[in-house]
């Protein structure tokens, strides 16, 4: 089990990696979304705002109306933000639940594929 602070730290690192990757930002330039992340075992939740491929804001708790809701346990959520797992494989095995369109699921996979191509 990971604490809310640990997830927040992993989320901050993930944000840096995304925003510092010019190639990724160019690829995702037509993607503007609000994402909610929910750790189902601890009840922690987070909000990420993406504007034209850039993560412009993270919040603790759920803020605004989400386009995408990602639900998993706190440990898997941390692993996802640290790049220790392939989130799409976890999604297809039902270990990460995503409420949103299949296109958005693919966009999330693009992020991980670009930042951690080896995962």
């Amino acid at each position: 089990m990971a604490t809310g602070d640990e997830i927040w730290e992993a989320l901050a690192d993930f944000t840096d990696q995304c925003n510092n990757n010019k190639r990724l930002r160019k690829m995702q330039r037509d993607w503007t979304k609000v994402l909610h992340f929910k750790a189902v075992d601890t009840g922690d939740s987070f909000t990420m705002k993406v504007v034209e491929g850039e993560i412009t804001k993270n919040d603790k708790g759920t803020v605004g109306t989400p386009d995408i809701i990602v639900e998993t346990d706190s440990e898997t959520m941390c692993d996802m933000f640290w790049g220790d797992i392939n989130p799409t494989q976890k999604y297809l095995r039902g270990e990460i639940k995503v409420k949103g369109t299949q296109e958005d699921v693919m966009r999330i996979d693009v992020i991980t594929a670009v930042i951690w191509p080896e995962v």
């Binding site: 639900e71 039902g94 996979d109």
Partner: protein, 430 residues
């Protein structure tokens, strides 16, 4: 040794997989490879026969995608393969400036088997290209510009076809698109009536929406549409790319409603799964536009000698073996099993529907379609969700599938649904 001998003679399956994946990673599309691998759909096809395909490792799968309806006559149909082999002793594709004997024979055959007064054919390579021909003919013949098409419809992603496809994600990066397309709700005659203007040239639709989620048009809706189009001098265009050649239990899906369109577009199974071919078939009246505008489509590979020979052999095989009748029978068996599964998994399965062997199962949320595809692969069945609606998993096997294979697929669905039900339960408990 030629390159073909070299490729066909390799037997080290691990080496073939490594080489193929590396070539995809470096030269084809690394992201596509990742998607296939993530979804466990990274099958490199080896043997193909009847309803099945084998991975190069020898693992057998029942193919329930069939390229969305390419392989109606079965995978690697031996009779048609033998015909093509014989033809290759003499033929190449044929010069496009020549008069092609086989093209004439195929056009005549298509005029015989299509409904109503459909008579002339223009040949292309892919479904999208044939849709382009249909739209050009509609605009040219009527001297009007607007095309009414359907929300969630799929007609391809090329120039004139892309704006007709009813989903923004395919179109957004490429604006501005060709103007003049209006999308309306499917199965809603009032929506079409409201969209008609003095500039309406045609109404374009699939008699069963394939990528939209295996949604059949109501027979009454199609008959009302026919009447509405005739009354307003608007052309009715059916896209039978996925539904044609026996798929729905009739040679063409239009036959279920008794409605004859003014233009019918076909592709996929016209090829026998062996040689690409598509075409638009249209009435004599529409053909008059071609007298003054003969070059509405110019292509090197549409309606070649070889393609037309394969198409003729394909139609002969479909008729001789009554594949439409077999599809209807196997479809009934499938549907009975799918309805039973809907009863067994009421929280997971919202609906099962379709005609013949064009069937779909609907789930309550988007994620279950991709997850079902993953589970089905583990259970020996290849399937994939419909691209405009991931909540629906498609069941479109070859039309030569037998009863035992239908039952195998149904068992695979049962096991896959059971696994997903367990996953859902686990999430709910947490």
């Amino acid at each position: 040794m030629s390159i073909i001998d070299d490729i066909l003679s390799k037997t080290d399956m691990d080496e073939i997989r490594r080489e193929t994946e590396e070539n995809y990673r470096q030269y084809v599309n690394p992201f596509a490879l990742r998607m296939f691998k993530n979804a466990s759909l990274d099958i490199i096809e080896g043997k193909r026969e009847g309803a099945a395909v084998w991975d190069i490792s020898g693992q057998k799968y029942i193919d329930c995608v069939t390229g969305a309806g390419i392989f109606n006559v079965g995978r690697h149909n031996k009779e048609i393969v033998e015909g093509l082999k014989k033809a290759l002793d003499t033929y190449d594709m044929g010069g496009w400036i020549s008069i092609v004997r086989e093209r004439g024979l195929l056009a005549k055959k298509l005029a015989e088997i299509t409904p109503g007064n459909l008579k002339y054919s223009l040949f292309c390579c892919g479904g999208g290209e044939a849709i382009e021909v249909a739209i050009k003919l509609a605009r040219g013949h009527t001297d009007k510009t607007e095309i009414i098409c359907m929300e969630n419809g799929y007609h391809g992603v090329t120039g004139f076809a892309l704006p007709a496809t009813g989903r923004d994600v395919y179109k957004q990066p490429f604006a501005p698109l060709t103007p003049g397309y209006r999308h309306v709700r499917y199965n809603d005659i009032g929506a079409v009536e409201e969209a008609i203007t003095e500039e309406t040239a045609a109404v374009l639709l699939e008699p069963i929406q394939g990528e939209g989620g295996i949604i059949p048009a109501d027979d009454k809706y199609l008959r009302d549409l026919r009447e509405l189009c005739t009354k307003n001098e608007i052309l009715l265009v059916f896209d039978e790319v996925q539904t044609g050649f026996g798929r729905t239990g009739k040679m063409f899906c239009a036959e279920h409603s008794g409605v004859a369109p003014d233009i019918m577009v076909m592709a996929k199974s016209l090829s026998g799964g062996l040689y690409p071919l598509s075409c638009a078939v249209f009435t004599e009246e529409i053909a008059e536009f071609l007298m003054t505008h003969p070059f509405i489509i110019i292509n090197s590979f549409g309606g070649t000698s070889l393609a037309c020979l394969v198409a003729l052999a394909t139609i002969e095989y479909i008729e001789k073996n009554d594949l439409p009748g077999h599809a209807a029978k196997m479809g009934e068996r499938f549907m009975a099993g799918l309805v039973a599964l809907k009863g067994k998994y009421p929280n997971l399965v919202l609906d099962v529907r379709g005609k013949g062997l064009m069937l779909g199962m609907e789930f309550p949320e988007d994620s279950i379609g991709p997850r079902m595809a993953y589970q089905l692969k583990q259970n020996g069945v290849i399937s994939i969700y419909t691209f405009n609606n991931p909540r629906i998993i498609r069941i479109m096997p070859t039309l030569v599938i037998d009863e035992k294979e239908v039952d195998f697929v149904l068992e695979a669905f049962d096991r896959s649904l059971s696994e997903i039900a367990k996953q859902e339960e686990k999430t709910a408990v947490r």
